[in-house]
């Protein structure tokens, strides 16, 4: 079984399309789910999943089978998602309707009005993409800092710093709108 997986990875590295399809079938759900967590837009997540696998195919020569496929694919998907966030920053795609389609139900705090939640989401969408992606994964999705660091290809300390800066900027933005979190 282990040898079979290793064979697929080696064949993929040599440009075998069937091996690439096998890897795609095995990992597309995980890659799509990861991207969706970052961009929070189902249509964009599908588009970026295709983009990520195309980048994966293009970069197959640089793939090291001994380090595993999943983490490598996740790093490439993270970069693709970050590129998307950069291009969509001004358009502010982070609408509440889109979030509502994919978001898990949470118990709402009655002290936080829908208007405050909407303004917070919009202010979050105005953050620099590098800070936004770190805060999304570490705070919203509550993923371990180490996992976020590996995906972003930075240190755990850098993740913590980005989260701190994101929260500080978000608070400042909300205060400027007269909202005291």
């Amino acid at each position: 079984m282990q040898n079979g997986a290793s064979d697929v990875l080696n064949q993929f590295r040599q440009g075998d399309v069937d091996a690439f399809e096998a890897l795609f079938r095995r990992h597309q759900r995980a890659v799509h789910g990861w991207i969706l967590r970052i961009v929070r837009n189902p249509a964009a997540a599908e588009e970026l999943t295709v983009e990520s696998f195309w980048r994966i195919h293009r970069a197959r020569d640089r793939f090291d089978p001994s380090r595993g496929f999943e983490g490598w694919a996740r790093r490439i998907a993270t970069r693709a998602a970050l590129d998307w966030l950069r291009t969509k920053r001004t358009a502010n795609e982070l609408s509440m309707e889109e979030c509502g389609e994919v978001a898990a139900p949470v118990k709402a705090d009655p002290a936080v009005t829908a208007e405050i939640r909407r303004k917070t989401a919009l202010a979050f969408g105005r953050l620099p993409p590098k800070l936004r992606i770190a805060a999304t994964l570490a705070v919203v999705e509550e993923l371990p800092h180490r996992e976020v660091a590996e995906a972003l290809e930075i240190s755990v300390a850098a993740v913590k710093l980005r989260v701190f800066r994101a929260l500080r900027l978000l608070r400042k933005d909300l205060e400027e709108q007269g909202i005291t979190p």
């Binding site: 898990a104 949470v106 939640r117």
Partner: protein, 79 residues
């Protein structure tokens, strides 16, 4: 911003942007799109990732600069 403020901001953020459902997968098979993407790129002749048109444009500009050096400042002005 102290620890209490940070925790308050985190809570507000989670309330405003709930986590994505972990089981949310793509609604359709994306493999045909990946194949189309690969085919489209393979069909485009490139030189180190550049389209042929980019190369031709660059060659034209270099030729213009060599043949008519006086055009360089004018070109830079319109950049």
């Amino acid at each position: 911003m102290n620890e209490l403020d940070r925790e308050r901001m985190k809570k507000l953020l989670r309330q405003s942007l709930p986590p994505v459902k972990s089981d949310a997968g793509p609604e359709r098979d994306l493999w045909p799109d990946v194949l189309r993407r690969m085919d489209a790129r393979d069909a485009t002749p490139t030189l180190s990732g550049w389209a042929w048109f980019d190369g031709a444009l660059l060659a034209g500009l270099v030729a213009l600069a060599v043949l008519f050096p006086a055009s360089v400042p004018l070109f830079l002005y319109y950049l």
